[in-house]
């Protein structure tokens, strides 16, 4: 038991190095100050103790009322030190929040009490010790933790959301954590520097099996990673064979959900979605928005909140009952990948993919629209 306990936790990412530096710098400075204060208190307690231990009442002591110089010194010096920590910490936070532009995006969806990880190539891993409850979703196999695989020495961006309540995706070995807030995307990024297997925890209290919403992240060499992506080896019963990239799956959904009915290039009834990602778009009623993930998300979930200028608000909204969080990610991945001239062509004899409906989606019936899981 004691042997299992490492004295220092693993440092497995670039950020871990920075975070450890600041933690230990703060600990050293505050520790030294604290010990110095203790030493002075201890010294005073010994030097000025009363000779007779039970004695109380009058004793001739000097009447010292204070010293402004000293007080000013111990006001300003700590403040300067604290502000230095603030500056350093802000710098690390800045690094932690801004992924390199070329980092591949891995999507993570939190749900009570599991994490669903989607790779750009379409691979899928489910993390969570109680995945047994979700045996059907993960392919009918039994109890397992789920292992997410990452390549060493290559930055990856994590785009995070939640289906129900607030979770927190934390990997102590990477010294990094961020809340998965339902209803929007937040992102972070990792630059793993050391191969090995590390813990993933849910750090935000999320209900009964909060402590079972855990798993592992396995950092492997680039070659092994590619083999894993290709399905040559598996970490568990998740889907990690290639059945189409995320964008490709999104394209299928784009047709299946009848988005193509309006968002086509011929008789367009809605904006053409080619190359709109991260561009600034004017909206009806004045103002502009940047078409980032959160805007794309809102435009699918609540299409009429911010309508593109020049178009009518005719799009029905797609709540979680029509498009799950995971499918939403696929559609967004597809929209992000759309290049000029790549919108599928809608022809009169176009046949919907298997399982798709050919009728346009029905208008919402209830005033509440989406209710989310109750």
């Amino acid at each position: 038991m004691i042997l299992q306990t490492r004295f220092f936790p693993e440092q497995a990412s670039e950020l871990a190095w920075h975070v450890d530096n600041i933690i230990w710098a703060i600990s050293a400075v505050t520790g030294a100050t604290g010990l110095a204060v203790y030493a002075v208190i201890g010294l005073f307690c010994i030097m000025y103790r009363r000779k007779n231990p039970g004695e109380l009442g009058y004793a001739p002591t000097p009447r010292i009322l204070g010293s402004h110089k000293l007080e000013l010194a111990w006001t300003i010096i700590p403040l300067i030190i604290f502000l230095a920590f603030f500056g350093w910490g802000a710098q690390i936070y800045n690094v932690a929040l801004h992924p390199p532009a070329d980092a591949p995006e891995i999507y993570v969806v939190g749900k009570q009490w599991m994490w669903k990880v989607q790779y750009p190539g379409g691979q899928r891993v489910i993390i969570g010790q109680n995945s047994l409850d979700y045996a059907k979703e993960i392919g009918g196999e039994g109890y397992f933790e789920g292992i997410m695989v990452l390549p060493v020495n290559r930055p990856v961006k994590i785009v995070l959301t939640s289906e129900d309540v607030i979770h927190n995706f934390g990997i102590p070995a990477f010294r990094q954590k961020i809340d998965a807030v339902p209803g929007r995307y937040v992102s972070t990024w990792y630059h793993p520097t050391k191969t090995g297997t590390y813990d993933i925890f849910c750090d935000q209290y999320c209900g009964t099996n909060h402590s079972l919403m855990v798993g592992k992240v396995m950092v492997v060499e680039q070659k092994e990673y590619e083999e894993w992506l290709e399905g040559k080896w598996k970490t568990g019963p998740g889907k990690n064979s290639v059945d189409g990239s995320l964008a490709h799956q999104g394209r299928q959904l784009f047709q299946k959900l009848n988005c193509i009915q309006c968002h086509d290039t011929q008789k367009s009834k809605a904006p053409i979605l080619e190359e709109i990602y991260n561009t600034r778009r004017p909206i009806k009623g004045g103002g502009t928005v940047i078409a980032d993930e959160n805007y794309l998300r809102e435009s699918i979930r609540r299409p009429r909140a911010k309508v593109r200028d020049g178009w009518e608000p005719i799009m029905p909204h797609f709540g979680p009952d029509k498009v799950s969080e995971e499918d939403l990610i696929k559609v967004i991945a597809y929209i992000k990948s759309l290049k000029k001239g790549e919108t599928p062509v809608r022809t009169e004899d176009w046949v919907a993919p298997v399982g798709g409906t050919t009728e346009p989606p029905a208008a919402p019936k209830t005033p509440t629209g989406e209710g989310g899981p109750k």
Partner: protein
């Protein structure tokens, strides 16, 4: 003194006992004379009784939590029960013990005496605050007993409003009501301090405990209503979910923002930490000066740092939300401001240390508690810095590091201050002395127990063990067992303390009016004080800590009597 004469005549009409000047404990024996009292001292004692019970309950719940954590898969409870247990521990300890403790007991009992007043400004409001608190506590206890709450004391929606099927509404309603009690007490203390001070009791002559209580009351007045409204909105949302017509005030599925609740909640709950720690800080200033026979080093700095903490404490709450998805710029702003709140605490620590210089230090139990406070609060305060720094909070947020940090502040700081106050003023409150030997043993045991319980948790947190986990990786077991061992030392120490304190009623020797040879106005009064505190309104002639001159605030000799 024509008014005084008129008053004496007037008062003796209503209280026949008053002219006999019996102690407040003997002024009426029936249960009604307690339940319908408007005497601030009796109300303080009523708070003391209830707080002791709740502290015992909260402590026992902590014991269940720690016992369960002995095993990596949960030793005695299933996950759901564990969640309800730590929530109950949090709710009971925070809202039913820590927040009302020193303001309710010592604030009520001693602030009027220390400023030379006969009673609080609004005695009926004062007893009402106790009843309101009891009603709130009943709701909370009812919610905890009939199924419990499994949301954690932070009650974050959408979990609490949509996902949790436990007793959120009655529990939240209870907390909501206890808030009003805090507002009443705070209002009473502020008005009393402004309007009821004895002649000569200038702001520069107020004991530092009163300054701390003033700052505390300021926070209670101005922060608690924001919690009340946050809880109201949460109750509406939770209730609407139960009715099947969900409204998403904080629920993103219905276009609400969960972070709004966190903002409103922490707007109160961060300053609430200062509600807990400031009175303890004030207490330590009293104890250190008394038992080292010295003036406080830098009265003005210590007094104003309390007010400074109260004000700056309102500006830092979002450091609880650095990884919660708030704006990058807001995170920078709040981290910067959080650094400023550390400064007044640092000033206090250094000034207290300097107070000991060239003193004549004796180590009675209250002094051991005060020194323990210095040591443990320093740890708690300094470990707050990595949590307020953005870069390190990325890793430490929501881990056991946070748990250890705030327990060092609240338990190591606040509870030690409370116990120090209780031991210091016990002879004044009840007129009896407890065992000197056993009290010293108890104080040392508590400090040792705290360190053993919570130091391992820093290490657990640094290794990444998240809060609120009944199941954890096996390599963390060794540190968890150590922590639980520390808990048992604490539990033994608390049993010991309550045993000798209760025993002092029967076997303790009678205490004189000034058993410590202290200088405050409360030591001029009898032990226990008479119903109107003083035979005649005292005249204050000097500052509160003239130990080197051996002079009480009324100018008498401050000898052991």
């Amino acid at each position: 003194m024509s008014t005084a004469t008129k008053h004496e005549a007037h008062a003796s009409n209503e209280h026949p006992a008053h002219s006999a000047h019996v102690s407040y404990l003997k002024d009426g024996w029936s249960i009604w004379s307690w339940l319908f009292t408007v005497d601030h001292k009796r109300i303080g004692i009523m708070y003391l009784v209830m707080l002791t019970i709740f502290f015992g309950v909260g402590g026992a719940l902590a014991g269940l939590v720690r016992t369960n954590l002995l095993s990596p898969t949960g030793l005695i409870m299933d996950n759901d029960t564990y969640n309800k247990t730590f929530t109950a521990h949090g709710v009971v300890m925070l809202f039913l013990f820590l927040i009302p403790s020193i303001p309710g007991v010592m604030g009520n009992f001693f602030v009027p005496i220390m400023i030379g007043a006969k009673d609080m400004a609004f005695p009926k409001l004062n007893i009402a605050s106790w009843y309101v608190w009891m009603v709130g506590a009943s709701f909370a206890v009812f919610a905890l007993l009939t199924g419990g709450i499994d949301t954690g004391w932070t009650l974050y929606p959408p979990y609490s409003s949509r996902s949790s099927h436990s007793n959120v509404v009655p529990g939240v309603f209870g907390v909501f009501i206890t808030g009003f009690s805090g507002i009443m007490t705070g209002l009473n203390i502020i008005v009393t301090m402004h309007r009821m001070r004895a002649p000569g009791m200038t702001w520069g002559r107020l004991p530092l405990f009163c300054w701390a209580m003033y700052a505390t009351s300021l926070i209670q007045l101005l922060a608690t209503p924001v919690l009340a409204i946050a809880l109201t909105l949460l109750m509406v949302e939770t209730g609407s979910n139960a009715l099947g017509m969900p409204i998403g005030i904080f629920d993103p599925a219905l276009d609400g923002d969960p972070l709004l609740f966190q903002h409103l909640f922490w707007f109160y709950s961060h300053p609430a930490v200062y509600i807990m720690i400031l009175p303890a800080m004030g207490m330590v200033s009293e104890l250190l000066t008394c038992f080292s026979r010295k003036n406080i080093f830098g009265y003005t700095a210590v007094a104003w740092s309390s007010v400074g903490i109260a004000i700056v404490g309102f500006l830092v709450w979002a450091h609880h939300m650095f990884v919660a998805g708030i704006s990058y710029y807001a995170a920078l702003l709040f981290s910067l401001l959080s650094m400023f709140v550390a400064v007044p605490s640092a000033i206090k620590i250094f000034n207290w240390t300097a107070t000991l210089y060239r003193g004549a230090i004796s180590f009675q139990a209250p002094m051991i508690f005060a020194l323990g406070f210095l040591v443990l609060f320093t740890v708690g305060g300094l470990t707050g810095i990595p949590l307020a720094t953005l870069g390190s909070d990325l890793h430490l947020h929501d881990t056991y590091f946070v748990v250890a940090h705030f327990h060092f502040v609240m338990v190591g700081g606040m509870v030690l201050g409370y116990l120090g106050a209780l031991h210091y003023w016990w002879p004044k409150m009840f007129g009896v002395m407890y065992s000197d030997f056993w009290s010293r043993i108890g104080a040392i045991m508590i400090c040792v127990g705290y360190v053993t319980t919570f130091t391992p948790q820093f290490w657990l947190g640094y290794h990444g063990m998240p809060r609120r986990y009944p199941n954890y990786p096996a390599e963390f077991q060794y540190l968890n067992v150590l922590s639980t061992a520390g808990y048992s030392i604490q539990a033994a120490a608390f049993l010991l303390i309550h045993t000798y304190l209760i025993a002092s009623f029967f076997t303790g020797k009678k205490a004189g009016p000034n058993p410590w040879g202290a200088t405050g106005l409360e030591w001029v009064a009898e032990s226990p004080p008479i119903t109107h505190n003083f035979e005649a309104t005292p005249k204050v002639v000097c500052g509160p800590y003239e130990y080197s001159l051996n002079m009480t605030q009324t100018g008498e000799k401050a000898d052991v009597r």
